[in-house]
Amino acid sequence: MRVINKFSLVLLLGVCLSAVNCTKQVAQSVSGYGVLNPQRDFVLHDQDGRIFHLKDHRGQMVLLFFGYTSCPDICPTTLSKLARVYELLGPQMRSQLLTVFVSIDPQRDTPQKLKEYLRYFKINAVGLTGTKAEIDTVINAYKASYTKEETSSSAMGYMFDHTDLLYLIDRRGKTIHLFHLEDPAEQIAKIIQGKAALSHG
């Protein structure tokens, strides 16, 4: 009996230590940003014109990404990389990980355009849009930022500067990790797998 008690104590200590360790890892990865989206919800319109609530996706891991379809460089590179991440994660994880692409360009990115754009990358993704005020509410909740740069010299007309983060949100809606857009697919997949396992527990 005493042996069992000692074993339980060691086990309990191990669990506590690993919990402390995990908390520390999470705190480190999102440190400097404070609590992101404490409501753990936001509302926008999806690519099919339906209302999208983050809270309706409890039980799924979410990768949140702010971008725009006229972005020639970072956005398609990141979405192509995410296609590789999904490959690495395998078919089972595919349905459990939802990529949420929030457009910062409601002027050009119609729901139809978002739908066609995201379909191309063959990932489990939803494209969201809304009014500028609605999009800004989500941007602010995640302490992201963007600026619209009007340019008369470029045929683009206007371009955006935007933050370079991918937000990993757990099954309860909590932001648990921030990826930089240049992080390699292998690293992203590995961290998602680790966090998903913890999130189940």
Binding site: D73, K113, Y120, S153, S154, A155, D161, T163, L165
Partner: protein, 144 residues
Amino acid sequence: MRKLLCLTGVFALLASSAAYAAAAGKISVTDAWVQAMPPSSSISAAYMTITNNSSQNVVLSSASCDIAGAAEIHQMKDDGGMMRMSMVASLTIPPQGKVTLKPGGYHLMLIDLKKPVNNGDVVPISLHFKDGETIKVNAHARNQ
């Protein structure tokens, strides 16, 4: 007959390599590729390495592409976590140096695409240099 076919093959290969290495004289261009994009997209970006084999600066002043309404030199910069894109007037390649256009850095922005850029497509791009030289490159479209 077989020898003749082999020789023809070798010549074809050499001709094709020369086209991709695009003028191995003063300026050479290698690894040219274009971001394959969804069919609904009207923009894309081209990347490559431009090497200056001469002892003087070489200045890329503009570019053009048959399938795009405009081709501009742009730069993406990571400014403390903000990705900032801006148009640049020209790109200087130092003597005996090279500049690599790559995602997250310099790129040729292809605007108002007249047709979709699909994976595997070959996109001809002309690079116009300040000294009047024009170099044509074939950029292969792929997803990265």
